[in-house]
Assembly symmetry: C2
Homo-oligomer: 385 residues x 2
């Protein structure tokens, strides 16, 4: 088994949970990869011999981003809707229906090629693990094939039949479909099940019914909640002991307490607030209360068509009260936790060697240099991609 | 002379001033380059024959960005100052002195290599013309060599000795130095002269003295003004008939009227407001009043270390009331106007063939997909770079 030494690393963020600082930073560092996993990390001066070496020229190395929330399976383009919104129209969840029509009309090959392009775009920006949801099919056939497409790219597939109630059906009929034949068809391709629990989408009872039906099929629950206004979703997530609940823009004190007590991760998606001009979620409040916070892209064609976790980090630092270290940790280690993964999200012995090299000396530059494509190289399981 | 046909362009932004729409958009377009210049533009179906062809796969093509305001000649890094500011400290112009010390200590080779890296980084993001200022030397020797370094990369060099008053000298002494020996030494390498006209830097009388001295040496004037608060700089720029005045964050009605009446361009630099959490300038107000608005990066290590005009466009659309078309136009055509250049900034016959290809079907995606590195390819004078 060939071993590779990555050396001359100016700053290595290990995310070692045993380190004194959040990112487990090591300066003048090196890292050895063997069999696709991290075999050793430490000071370059102490590095063991390896079969081959990669000199990183003093650059910073971080774990690959773990993007725990995206909607990549779709067709069509909503650039004009975006421009209209920027000119003053408010975001309407109904815009989803445009994408549903285009997605249903697309072939499997078209959907696959579209997802491939976005996954490749994410990789170039440092994302090495991505969760992908369905939710633009909203029919038995189209949800199942959306997940079959997603499954070609990631193990982290999420059935989001309960994204919005499609036209021509009542909420009651649709929940029965989602929890019945649609779930039957989708479950073989999904690890997770998710519901958009929001006024105008699904209420708490409907969300609970969907999550319980998913659990009966072996799917673990996640939730979209408290994005557009206050609501019961976050407390439901805590009550059910979900690993993560996503958006969390409108929280009262009871919501924050519930998240802390349940240990449920709040996954914040600041690209959405950037792209819709909504208020940002208050990451500082959550962190100060002892809630774990993850950052993800929510890449989707409607409310947030960015795939850039570097931008999300810059926004989290500028507008959500996170330090650069907290934001990087949230997009790597916490992202992995939000997917209940202990094999990615950190560069410590035994974890998969998913890493990015920045054209910068430290992780701070991801926030200090907003918009600049700083990711110079990406390795997945120790191989350049 | 070889001619090259760029064809299968989904959307071509020509910036043709004679077109009915601001960007002079042509769909299903083609463009012919000969001798480094645009020879023909129009519908692909009507394109003339050429010696070679480049198929752009339906992607959007724009003129290269013209970044009319940057400070690329410096050494050192202020990432920690940035992190401290994000944690609550307010922006202090004094931070410039850190960079001055590092710049003075750097060799010419170090400065050159640093500028080369940033210019290359800009090119990858679509910038094909860049103005570069001195202003971190603040001594006769260091201002002159800063400009000599900048001149290796661009014709658009700007002497900004009047950036801040260095330690150990009075404002009066320093203005005498700037308008005397420093100007003598700098003028051979500069096209423009600039002053930071702001409370705590240089007042209107000092700015006028510097600009007039520059004019006597054949340098054309520009100004930093009204960035941190209201002030006389914008009206001075209009009175002197400067081609552009930069920042323009704090304007009263008389300022706006003066800009319109003088035809002076307001160059807005939203990366600064993003990176310092200051209020954004109101582009909409300026445009509605009939003022021409340019967008530039202000790339510098202190208040704004982004080199990304795509990010500036996204911010202008989100936070400054510009449409995507206005923002793209401001970063291309208006940028060229702000440098008094009629050979770049548009893709019409006779202009230099500086263009970018987006991994997107339309220019709107630059705002719709914030943070995503959408620039797939860049050509300068018809050659890929």
């Amino acid at each position: 088994m060939t071993s590779t030494l990555f050396t001359n690393i100016g700053e290595l963020a290990t995310n070692d949970p045993g380190a004194e600082d959040l990112l487990g930073l090591v300066e003048d560092a090196a890292l050895v990869v063997e069999g696709g996993r991290v075999a050793w990390v430490g000071r370059a001066a102490d590095a063991p011999a390896a079969d081959e070496a990669v000199d990183l020229g003093g650059r910073a190395v971080l774990p690959g981003f773990v993007d725990s929330h995206s909607h990549l399976v779709f067709a069509g383009d909503r650039a004009q809707e975006f421009a209209a919104r920027m000119a003053g129209e408010s975001y309407a969840a109904g815009g989803i229906r445009t994408t549903v029509a285009a997605t249903r009309a697309a072939t499997d090959e078209q959907l696959t090629s579209h997802v491939a392009r976005l996954v490749e775009e994410m990789r170039r920006q440092g994302t090495t693990t991505v969760e992908i949801k369905s939710g633009y099919g909203l029919s038995v056939r189209d949800e199942a094939r959306s997940l079959a497409v997603a499954r070609q790219f990631t193990e982290e597939t999420t059935f989001l039949g309960a994204h919005v109630v499609p036209e021509g059906t009542t909420p009651e009929e649709y929940v029965a479909l989602v929890t019945g034949p649609m779930l039957e068809a989708a479950a073989p391709y999904a690890r997770w099940i998710d519901v958009f629990c929001e006024r105008g989408a699904f209420d708490a009872d409907q969300a609970r019914a969907v999550l319980e039906a998913g659990a009966a099929h072996g799917l673990r629950g996640r939730l979209h909640a408290n994005q557009l206004g206050p609501g019961p979703g976050v407390r439901l997530a805590a009550e059910l002991g979900l690993v993560a609940v996503d958006h969390c823009t409108y929280l009262d004190d009871a919501d924050v307490d519930a998240l802390r007590d349940a240990g449920t991760i709040a996954t914040l998606l600041p690209g959405v607030e950037f792209s819709t001009r909504q208020p940002y979620p208050d990451a500082r409040r959550l962190l100060d209360a002892g809630v774990r916070v993850a950052l993800a892209s929510d890449c989707n064609p409607g409310s947030c068509f960015t795939s850039s976790l570097p931008l999300c980090i810059a926004l989290a630092v500028r507008d959500m009260g996170m330090t650069p270290a907290e934001a990087v940790h949230a997009a790597t280690f916490r992202g992995a936790e939000a997917l209940d993964r202990d094999d990615v999200g950190a560069l410590v012995p035994g974890r998969r060697a998913d890493l990015m090299v920045l054209d910068a000396p430290t992780h701070v530059h991801l926030a200090y240099r907003p918009g600049v494509p700083l990711v110079r190289g990406v390795w997945v399981a120790g191989r350049p991609v």
